[in-house]
Symmetry: C2
Subunit: 176 residues, 2 copies
């Protein structure tokens, strides 16, 4: 069921986050619309818990202000077509030093579909064990936070990051 | 508590969605980092229900694919410093033709703080009444969806939009 077709795409800027494109679409009724798209490779986010703690990170997000944000482990897919589950395993090890015996894909979300095609697959990871944290990029400055599961509502209250909120709220829903 | 300072900002592209800037920051330990920021005016989203239905929209989001996305009413702040509550009232009228007697601010979220400063204030609106829908922008193609509150879990399952998921999951949490 095609309701529109893309009739143009112009790359106006390329950076590390992706490519900004001005795209034109024609709907079946003939109307043409222009959309600006920050084309993104996609990402993953992980709600990882061991029954006692949910493993979070605090990370400076310089562009939104002074406070480091409370987030779930997450990251972009590596170029070259990395599978989301592989990216999730990699990010969980890199960011909080954990591996998981059980992985479940719980949701895929678009972070802001009006202007970016960024899509984040959210996983639930359980059966955790410690692994060595590989060397991370020098500018990541990630603080690992073992947050008590019994205070999950407080994590939700403290969290301002959309993907992390979806992950934690879905986790809360499953725990009843 | 200042842990970093901005030491540079270069505008590399400007469009309708905002301005793309390459920003440089210096942390207190001397390390400098580069961040790419899609600078955004901010937005609002509304979980509006009348005790029987939650009022949603379906809207084509051409850049993420064929299917129209199921979302809560939402929109950008108007230029000139529109207050979030005023924007929420305006969007609820424009998108679903409703006014609300009671407004509560439930959360503010960053949609993707790694590359955009977009911040969305989420409101809960109750005590709904009908108003005339003002003329909307010609390319919005919004379908109003009165979704039964008793099937809120199905809306959450069908929803792929981050702000809408946060709004609906917080609504579900309040309804117990």
């Amino acid at each position: 069921m095609t309701s529109f077709e893309q009739i143009g795409s112009e790359t106006v800027w390329s950076g590390r986050i992706g490519t900004v494109r001005v795209e034109r679409y024609r709907h079946v009724d003939g109307e043409e619309v222009v959309r600006e798209n920050v084309a993104h490779p996609g990402a993953v986010a992980i709600a990882a818990h061991d029954g006692t703690h949910v493993w979070l990170v605090r990370q400076p997000r310089e562009i939104v202000g002074e406070r480091a944000l409370l987030e779930v482990p997450a990251g972009k897919l590596d170029g070259g077509g990395e599978a989301p589950l592989d990216a999730a395993k990699r990010e969980l090890a890199e960011e909080v030093g954990k591996a998981a015996a059980t992985w479940e894909r719980v949701k895929a979300i678009y972070t802001s579909p009006g202007f970016t095609d960024e899509r984040i697959e959210i996983f639930l990871a359980t059966g955790l064990s410690d692994v060595e944290r590989p060397a991370v990029e020098e500018d990541e400055r990630i603080e690992v936070v073992a947050w008590p599961l019994a205070r999950l509502d407080d994590a939700i209250a403290a969290c301002e990051d959309a993907k992390s909120l979806v992950a934690l709220l879905l986790l809360r829903g499953r725990r009843g």
